[in-house]
């Protein structure tokens, strides 16, 4: 069990979501949810399938535009996020079912994660010498650190389509880390992994959190993992927030137990 270190619980708010509602046509995916993520914490979002967890992440990084509510990131309040703004602002993301660039090597995938940080102009790119090459090399160096960190040296050149699922997830994490995010959104990072892979991934998540000091919000089904990793847990059900607090508080919460034991609503 990971004790919510006091300075985290005290820590200032990095992102807060206020009264956000989102619906597609008639379907309400999120109903008036408010919560916040504090600097440096690992924040878990849990809930039964279709609880709106992924939609919530999509709202945070601007992939979906909520009909109501406000999002405050780094003290800046918006009606809705825009993907580009989110990325620029330092929000990175991995996906429930891996969304890698299948045609590219692991290395190139992670390099792509640095696109925002590379700014040599078109002409230099054409020549691919001098500044352009220098820039390429500098970012390769950074990417290699990540590759080393995630221990994927051996598969650097492999086309990601050919990699086993577990490694793909790792590469995707690498791509997100390449953005050097302040806030990292992980959508079921351990889905479909065997025990060993899960342990590795948990270790990486923790290492990212303390090595890079990255704030992390993750969706996860494996309760054990959630309890071990997270400082605070947000519980959603049918798009509503039904509990929010430290792992122990949440575990004890009546609504949560009902939701998981599937008591009729």
């Amino acid at each position: 069990m990971r004790a919510p270190s006091s300075e985290v619980l005290a820590g200032q708010v990095l992102l807060s979501v206020e009264n956000v509602s989102l619906s597609f046509g008639g379907v309400k995916a999120i109903r008036d949810v408010s919560f916040d993520i504090r600097k440096g914490e690992i924040r878990a979002i849990i809930g039964p399938n279709g609880a709106g967890k992924t939609s919530l992440l999509n709202v945070i990084n601007g992939f979906y535009q909520p009909q109501e509510g406000r999002i405050t990131f780094r003290g800046e309040t918006r009606e809705k996020m825009r993907p580009y703004a989110a990325a620029r602002g330092g929000i990175a993301r991995t996906f429930q079912n891996v969304a890698l660039f299948k045609g590219m090597s692991a290395l190139d995938n992670i390099m792509t994660g640095r696109s925002l940080k590379m700014n040599r102009g078109f002409v230099w790119q054409l020549l691919r010498h001098g500044p352009a090459l220098a820039e390429e090399v500098e970012h390769r160096r950074r990417v290699e650190e990540i590759i080393d960190f995630l221990e994927i040296n051996a598969i650097r050149r492999v086309q990601v389509g050919r990699l086993p699922y577990g490694l793909q997830k790792r590469v995707e994490l690498g791509r997100a880390l390449a953005m050097e995010p302040d806030l990292l959104l992980l959508d079921e990072p351990m889905a479909g992994m065997n025990l060993e892979e899960k342990e590795d991934m948990s270790r990486f998540v923790l290492d990212v959190n303390n090595h890079y000091g990255t704030t992390i919000a993750l969706i996860e089904h494996d309760m054990g993992v959630v309890m071990d990793l997270s400082n605070r847990v947000l519980v959603l059900d049918y798009g509503r927030k039904i509990a929010d607090g430290t792992p122990d508080e949440v575990k004890a919460d009546r609504n949560v137990i009902d939701a998981y034991l599937g008591v009729a609503h």
Binding site: L107, E144, E145, I147, D148, N153, A154, R156, D207
Partner: protein, 657 residues
């Protein structure tokens, strides 16, 4: 001992010399962050200087022992030299040893500090730290994951070097003082302590002086004409004398470049990229290369496969002769040339051995066809017989005199003697000082006049004048009729067959020889597929009658060979069985270095042995096993026992004569 070592008789001195003589040549490379990070001799000197001064600042003193734990990484090699510059003695420790073994070594060596590779190694040290009162500080190379640890007694190597550089910057005389302390070192000083895990008992700390290590290295270099342009790849354990000599001592003496691979699983790729010119490996490395080759070729298209095997045939026929510079008919040369273009050269390219000049196999006996396979490809593979106590070199095969079953002629400055009980003794400049804190063991192995008991039984082969090793001297026994019985020798002959993974032979103080066989699941498995033999489990495959037949044929061959050897014609295998489970280190049946624990097996499988000698055709056995996840359970089985034809001695002798 021509150049250098006369005046440069310690590692630090050699480093300084190299920095002067060949300052701009690469000294060491490390595939890190995707490219080969390279340090020239001058740079290495700079790094080691900083490191060394840092250690000095942090209180490493002359005569102190310090542990070096981890994989082959530049900074761990530097650590050794940095310590040696202060007159401290490095104690490399096997990175894969468990915390308990580690505790013993560090405690016994009285190490005051340890240089570890990463968190994994540090955790082990930490786990046993309360048993190591003398251990004051630990320095690490890889910071990953160690951020949250208490850094009171823990520092990164960077930090140490920073301290060193500060000290050097602060005080102009510092460097000079360091050089003095280097100068104080003498060839007769203690250079390194290497712990050898024997088949029995606790590990012993072999003390070697600079002269031991460096003179042997020098002799090795002259023997194989190794120069500064060699490229070697360092991937074998630091704590193993082999690596210490080949990747450290010989490199410092000759000034050649040592390359550290990126990870364990990329060694082959890394070797290919570098193109090593000088290699050294235990037989299993070559064995794996050959096995993977054959397995892969099974998946190749029919034409390609036929082409491959045809030319391998050609190579086996002519390759050795060509390599040994014998004269061969023109058509053979042409054919071999073609084969070289189509198969050999590409194959060597895949192995990363295209540029190999000298490549040694040592530590164990190597299978003849494995040996001749690589020779046939034109790789100058040779056998070597060495020991930690000898700083490796005892005997080695000269170029053009390679035989699969000998270990070669005495190295430069080495004398060899065979005791009447058949044990091999040697005397050389490399002979160790003694076992650390263990005078009586030292006395057992080392005579006052400097002869060392190898503990191996052997004889000088009259045909070739090469030394042949039969077995561990203490294991050599006699049948009741008095014929010489060398189990290991027989077992090796058996193990040379790819289908046989392990073999245990019995016969000491018995009427005849019997054997228990372990099949190699990979080799036999793919054989089974190709011959559509269906099997559900290892046990099932092992019990398959056709497998039995196959093994039986192999044993008959061994018997024939034994007869031809003459010496042990009487010790042919009369009965055998195939074990239902693999002998396993986790069950204590093998040592960590994969040597069979004869005694323990003798007890555990007593009923089988009984059956083997009582002439039963079947025997039941129940054994306890430890599964991957540590759970224990028992496997029980009924095993068939078979008789084997023995080759007529007389006839064979005539043939031999």
């Amino acid at each position: 001992m021509a150049d250098g070592t006369a005046e440069a008789d310690t590692f630090p001195k050699l480093l300084i010399r190299n920095a002067q003589v060949r300052g701009l040549r690469p000294a060491i490379r490390h595939k890190d962050f995707g490219i080969w990070q390279t340090w020239t001799w001058a740079q290495v000197l700079d790094e080691v200087l900083a490191f060394s001064v840092g250690l000095d600042e942090l209180g490493l003193r002359r005569g102190d022992k310090f542990a070096v734990i981890g994989a082959n990484r530049p900074r761990l090699y530097w650590a050794m030299c940095a310590g040696q510059a202060l007159g401290a003695v490095p104690v490399p420790v096997y990175a894969d040893s468990v915390a308990d073994e580690m505790a013993y070594v560090l405690d016994h060596a009285e190490a005051t500090l340890a240089v570890v590779e990463d968190q994994e190694q540090f955790d082990k040290v930490l786990a046993v730290s309360e048993r190591l009162p003398k251990l004051l500080q630990v320095f690490y190379d890889e910071p990953r994951g160690l951020r949250d640890y208490d850094h009171a007694r823990l520092k990164s190597i960077d930090e140490v070097q920073r301290i060193g550089r500060q000290a050097l910057a602060a005080d102009a005389g510092r460097r000079a003082r360091w050089q003095q302390s280097v100068a104080q070192g003498k060839g007769s000083d203690l250079s390194v302590m290497l712990y050898t895990s024997g088949t029995t008992g606790r590990a012993k700390g072999v003390m070697l002086t600079y002269d031991n290590v460096l003179i042997s290295a020098q002799n090795g270099n002259t023997y194989d004409r190794l120069g500064e342009s060699e490229e070697v790849i360092a991937y074998l354990p630091l704590a193993w004398i082999g690596d210490h000599i080949f990747s450290y001592a010989q490199s410092y003496v000759a000034g050649y470049c040592v390359n550290c691979p990126e990870t364990g699983e990329t060694v082959v790729e890394d070797r290919r990229e570098i193109g090593t010119t000088y290699a050294f490996a235990p037989p299993r490395v070559y064995e794996n290369l050959l096995t993977t080759t054959m397995v892969r070729m099974e998946d190749a298209s029919a034409i390609k496969r036929r082409m491959f095997h045809y030319f391998i045939g050609v190579a086996r026929r002519w390759g050795e002769k060509i390599l040994n510079g014998e004269k061969v008919p023109l058509h053979a040369r042409l054919l071999y040339g073609l084969g070289d273009f189509l198969v050999y050269a590409p194959l060597k390219n895949r192995f990363g051995l295209s540029r190999i000049r000298v490549s040694y196999t040592a530590g164990e006996a190597i299978g003849p066809e494995i040996f001749s396979f690589f020779r046939a490809l034109g790789i100058n593979l040779k056998q070597l017989y060495g020991q930690t106590e000898a700083s490796v070199y005892i005997a080695a095969q000269p170029d053009g005199e390679s035989f699969p079953d000998t270990v070669g002629k005495p190295n430069q400055d080495v004398e060899i003697r065979i005791a009447e009980n058949g044990e091999v003794l040697f005397r050389s400049p490399g002979v160790f000082v003694g076992y650390y804190k263990d005078p009586e063991k030292t006395a057992e192995t080392k005579t006052p006049d400097g002869w060392v008991h190898t503990g191996d039984a052997g004889f000088i082969d009259p045909k070739t004048g090469h030394l042949k090793i039969i077995d561990r001297a203490k294991d050599v026994g006699r049948l009741i009729d008095g014929t010489l019985f060398a189990p290991k020798y027989i077992e090796n002959k058996l193990k040379f067959f790819p289908n046989i993974r392990e073999a245990v032979a019995f016969g000491d103080k018995r009427d005849f020889v019997t054997a228990m066989i372990n099949i190699d699941i990979v080799a036999v498995g793919s054989w089974a597929e190709r011959n559509n033999v269906v099997y559900g489990s290892y046990q099932e495959l092992a019990a398959n009658p056709r497998v039995y037949e196959m093994i039986e044929r192999h044993i008959e061959e061994v018997n024939r060979a034994l007869v031809e050897e003459g010496v042990m014609a009487g010790a042919q295998i009369k009965r055998f069985l195939v074990l239902h489970k693999e002998l396993d280190a986790d069950d204590g049946e093998l040592t960590r270095t994969m040597k069979v624990r004869r005694g323990l097996i003798g007890e555990r499988y007593a009923p089988l042995i009984k059956a083997l000698y009582e002439g039963a055709t079947e025997a039941a056995i129940a054994t306890e096993v430890t599964f991957e996840d540590g759970r224990k359970g028992t496997i029980s089985a009924r095993l068939k026992i078979r008789d084997v034809k023995v080759a007529p001695v007389a006839a064979a002798l005539e043939k031999a004569a």
